[in-house]
Every structure is written in structure tokens, then in C-alpha cells.
Chain length 384, copies 2
Amino acid sequence: MMKKAKRIVILGSTGSIGRQTLDIVRAFPDYFNVIALATRGNLDLLTEQVAEFQPDYINYALPPGDSSHRERFKRIGCSYLPMEEMAALPEADIVVVAVSGGAGLDAVLAAVKASKNIALANKESLVAAGSVLTEAARKNYAKILPVDSEHSAIWQCLAGEKQRPRRIILTASGGPFRGFTAAQMQSITPEQALAHPSWRMGRKITIDSATLMNKGLEIIEARWLFDMPIGDITVLVHPQSIIHSMVEFADGSVKAQLGMPDMRLPIQYALTYPERLENDAIPHLDWARFSDLKFGPPDPVGFPCLRLAVEAGKKGGTYPAVLCAADEIAVDLFLKERLGFTGIAGLVEQVLEKHESITRPSIDEIKEADRWAREKALEIAGRN
Amino acid sequence: MMKKAKRIVILGSTGSIGRQTLDIVRAFPDYFNVIALATRGNLDLLTEQVAEFQPDYINYALPPGDSSHRERFKRIGCSYLPMEEMAALPEADIVVVAVSGGAGLDAVLAAVKASKNIALANKESLVAAGSVLTEAARKNYAKILPVDSEHSAIWQCLAGEKQRPRRIILTASGGPFRGFTAAQMQSITPEQALAHPSWRMGRKITIDSATLMNKGLEIIEARWLFDMPIGDITVLVHPQSIIHSMVEFADGSVKAQLGMPDMRLPIQYALTYPERLENDAIPHLDWARFSDLKFGPPDPVGFPCLRLAVEAGKKGGTYPAVLCAADEIAVDLFLKERLGFTGIAGLVEQVLEKHESITRPSIDEIKEADRWAREKALEIAGRN
């Protein structure tokens, strides 16, 4: 008997992770059934995706009053649905949350409350609201499955293990500016920062990778995904990005997950878990090309975002939400060339210093902290 | 409530693996209870071990007629028992088979027939009689748990995985003579060959590591332990011995197990599985010391034993038994300086060439092939 196809909702279908998710769907047309697609704005690509995957529901951001597209989509059997309703569709087997930044939080929360399996590529939601989301997931038997390559690696290494590990070792490529002097850091342009050495990713996460803020956010994300204290999560720089992360167990044994740096592998694992499917489109690890894997400690002085994230993660409360929101503004200002590369950490730090955190915040308090941080970041940046 | 201690039988208690097994027992005195110890001859050390661990049964090889020791052991409540009976003791929770060479086969078979959990350090038994032992284990619900660091690594990587992997990647240190020229190989002395760069091991396995025969035997061992075709098991040279082996899955994801090169880690894992226990005596992997891990292909021309083992493994029948037995004689002759280093592979190859294999051999036919191979190896060596 044919197995029933997995019904997928993809929030953020035109972004980097969304498009690669559809690559996986394309590779296994009988295995998946796309039932809903949402995007923030790339309507041309969404139109193509709708024609190819024929979802029942779509969502996109358009200028108010423009209803012609909505009508056109409706004529081909495709209804407009708010993103939170998509995330909670009763027929959905898995919800891929690949929208970037703070915009993902409500969707993740809706999916969690609807007891969904959530393939989570939006790390900001978990960083900002980890305590609320993980508690709601436990109550509602929702599963948050990592899509980040590092967290997917940890998840794979934990398979079959009965005990809490001693330590998580997140590997980091170190970004394109590893070894730069303070003076060199000053003059980094958005163009330079967008050229990541190993991974093909969206703009926000590429800049976060260059500042190591991304690794800092990943520490907080790992803290919630695997219920580990921040102090037991360490970072190891590994420029080739072949070992995607490691887990050290009580007896000193370490497990690592390896592969070519290709996001389609962790995306596919989240979508097909606990199965693994042959996919010839994903390049295999060829040891003839990797005669030499390098490792080293991170540089918390050259990359203060890593330190800021660890501190915010340890303090908890609304600090991580403020970290995320301030970073989102800072990266945006950097991309618009209104802030220097080193100014990103500087701005985030100033916002964090001004914040009065709330312990055990509600989702509304987290959103309020997010709003406050964005406003404060813009205010400080405007003054400088 | 206290958990009941695991009752252990250790066959080969005075050898390298046996002594390290007792190190683990010493670290967790409440967790383990040694009920039987067997050794081929180191009576002084056995006497110490008996005093410390107070087993109910002992076994040792002594000149015929010498019964004074037996009486002395009996007075302290320690009875002499044949090794095969020890391996099948009804009260045993786990049987560690750490005798070296062909001598382990009967003990493993007895343990398998008695449905025991067997921590198997004697690879020769599985190489020579893999089909018989694994079939008997299946029928009798016995479990063969690997103690070799490579196979322990693979076993750990397979935990929680639902599907057969695509490929097993056995790592090899490459031995102390990696990169030697043919001329240099000719003049290698036993002393040089006994100085292994990474692992503390017995003499036979240290020489087998230097010729890469050990890696060849491990390929055949992996074939039986993990039910994988020989063609899906590859060797990757990794001189630092930090990655102990890897498994590649259907989706291209690779898992590796890492640790310091210390046999106590895989021994402990086999003894405590599925638990993992904190053991501060086992050194932890310190990434500050490993900034650079190297990998490369093996050299089948410089190390023909690897090729011989793969060929014997693929042909099957009684070839692997002959490979093991001839190698045991060849290594012994090399250690006695009656055969050169390169002569080991030469002698094994000549014996294999003269062998007429039996397909699907019985245990008696395997033993007969073993006996024939030893005789033939000595005969050929005597002629040269």
C-alpha cells in the first residue's frame, strides 16, 4: 500500500530555506503534498510556486486594497489564509517556519498550540520566546524539529541516546572575517559581509554569520531545543563546515554529524524524520577533497556579538528578545550602509544596557520587549 | 533501590583488554561484580586479580600435573572451570571475550549458545566464523557487542537509526610505517613495529596494525557485526585516531564517533550499554590539542595485508579463517625474527593461494581450515 503523502505548510516559501524546502518536495513528489505557501512579498516567485505545487492556501503581503491577485489565485482553487491559520491547519502534517526575523513568532506559537510538527528555520522565535514556546510545545505535544544545520547535527547525534549529554559543541565557520584586525573590521562593506565562504543563505543570517551573532543565537536556540544550560554549550571554530556540530556524552564519547555544507540535508531530515531518503541532488561528502579539517577557539574579542548573545542567554527574561530585535535593526542599518560592521555589536550592546528585563515573561511582554528594542535601536542609531 | 550489579566473566583477564576491563570495574565497584576470570598463563597477575576481585571461578593454562595453585585458589573459594563453561555461566550478565587469536572461538560459541551478552574483543573468532556465530546469535537471542574502538564507534553512530546505512567508513591510523618505501619496509624490526603511535594494545594486534591486517580483519568483523556487504565498508586513514569511525546514511548524512585513543572508552560502553557512566579516569577530548585532523586514502600497495583481507572477506567460505590463522603464525614468526615485516603478507598470501575453500562451512570445517592454515604456514616458512 502507498503511504499517504506528508502534507506540508511552508511559511516563507520564496526565501532561501523555503526554496530549498521546495527542492526537497520536488525530489520526492509522491512523498510530500504542499497544502499552503506563504511569503512576505515575492509575488512572481509565489505565482510560479503555486502553479507548480498547487497548494490549497496562500498568504502574501500586498499593498492594501490590491485584491486582483487574490481573485486570480482563487480562480485556480487557492484561497488566501492568514499565516497563523495556515500554521494551525488541521490537515497539516508538518509546518515549515522559514520566515526570517521576529515575524515568525506568532506563526510558531499558532503551530505549537495546534500540536503540529514544526520544522523550525526561524531561530529568532525560539531565541526570543524559548521558555513560552517550549512549555506550550510540551503541553500540546507539538514537536519543534530543528532545520539549522548545527541543531540538526545535534539532534541526529542524540538519536538513540538515553541520557542528557555533558556538552554540546556547536561548530562555527568563523565567518569571512576570521582573523581580521580591529582596523580591518571597521571598513567591512555589506558586499564583503554577504559573501559567506561555505553556506548559501539569506541576507540577514549571512550578516549574522559574519558577526558571529548567528552562533550566539544558535547557542540560545540549542539551550531550548535540547534543554541544556547555556554553560554546557560551547563553540568550536571549524572553517570548512564539514562537521556540523558535536555532542559530548557522560562517558567522554563524542558524536559528530558531518556532510557537505548544503541546507537541503538538514531540511530533508526534518521533513522525512525518522526516515532518511536517498537524494542524489544533495552532494555526498567526498573524503578525497577533505584531507585536513581545522579547528580552533572562537575570538570573543574580535566578535563581541558572540559574547553579547551568551550574556543575554544566561540572563534570560526578555534579554534574548531584545538581543534579536536590536540585531535585526542593526543588520538592516548595516545593509543600508547607515551603520558600520563593528557598529552592529555596538548598537546591540547599547540597547541591551538600557533594557530592564522581565523574568518569566509572557508572550505579550516578549513582544513588547521586541517593539521597545527596535524603537530604542533606531533612536540610538539616529542620534549617532 | 540499588540496581543489581552486572555479573561479568572476563576471558583473557591478564591481557591488555582484560586489564583495562578491570580498570573499568575498579572505577564502578557497585556497578559490576566479577564472577569469573580466565587467562592463558600470567599466573602472578591472575593471583593479584583474584585477591582484588574475588571471582567464583578461574581458569588458567598450566603445565600438566601442577595442581598446587588449583588447591590454593580453591581454599579462597575460587573454583577452576573450563573456559567454555565460564562463557556459558547461567548467572553471567555479560561475557568479555578478550583472549587473543583463534583461541577465542570456542568460548564465543559457548557464550552465543547460552544466549549471553558478549563484549567481543577477539576479532579473529568473528572473522573466521562470522556466518556461524551471527546465525547462532540470532537463533539464541545472544548479543555480540563490539569492543574494538572502530566497531564501537559504528555501533554508537547507528544508535536510534531505523535504516541500514549506505556505507561504513573505518578510520585507520595507518600504523607507524605509513609513507615508508618498499626498501624501508624490508628492514622493519619487531621493536619498531611494536611501537604504535596512538593505541596501547597487545603485541599481536600492534603488529597487525602496522601491516594494516588489523584494518582488514576489522572490515570482515564489521561485515558480520552490522550485516553490511564488504563493498560498502571503506577505509580512511586518519593518523591522529580521534575519529574512531563513521557511518554514512541513505540521505548523505555522516555520523562519526570521536574520543581520545583510549580503549577504556569502548570497553566501558560495551559493559554499561545502553547507559553511559561518568569516568574521570578516561581522558576527555580536548579540542585545544586537535587543531588539525588529517585524512587520506589507505595505501593497498605498500600494505598488501589490507587487500588480502578484503579479498578473503569477499570470497567468504573458509578463506577468512585461513587468513586469520596464517596471519597469526606469520606475526609470531616475525616477532621471533624468523620472518621479515614484508614477509608477513607474503606468507599469508601463499597460504591463501593454496587453500581450497568450503562454502557455508560448519564450525568444524572452519576449525579444520584454521588447523590446515597454521600447518601450511609453518611448512612454507620452514622451506624459505
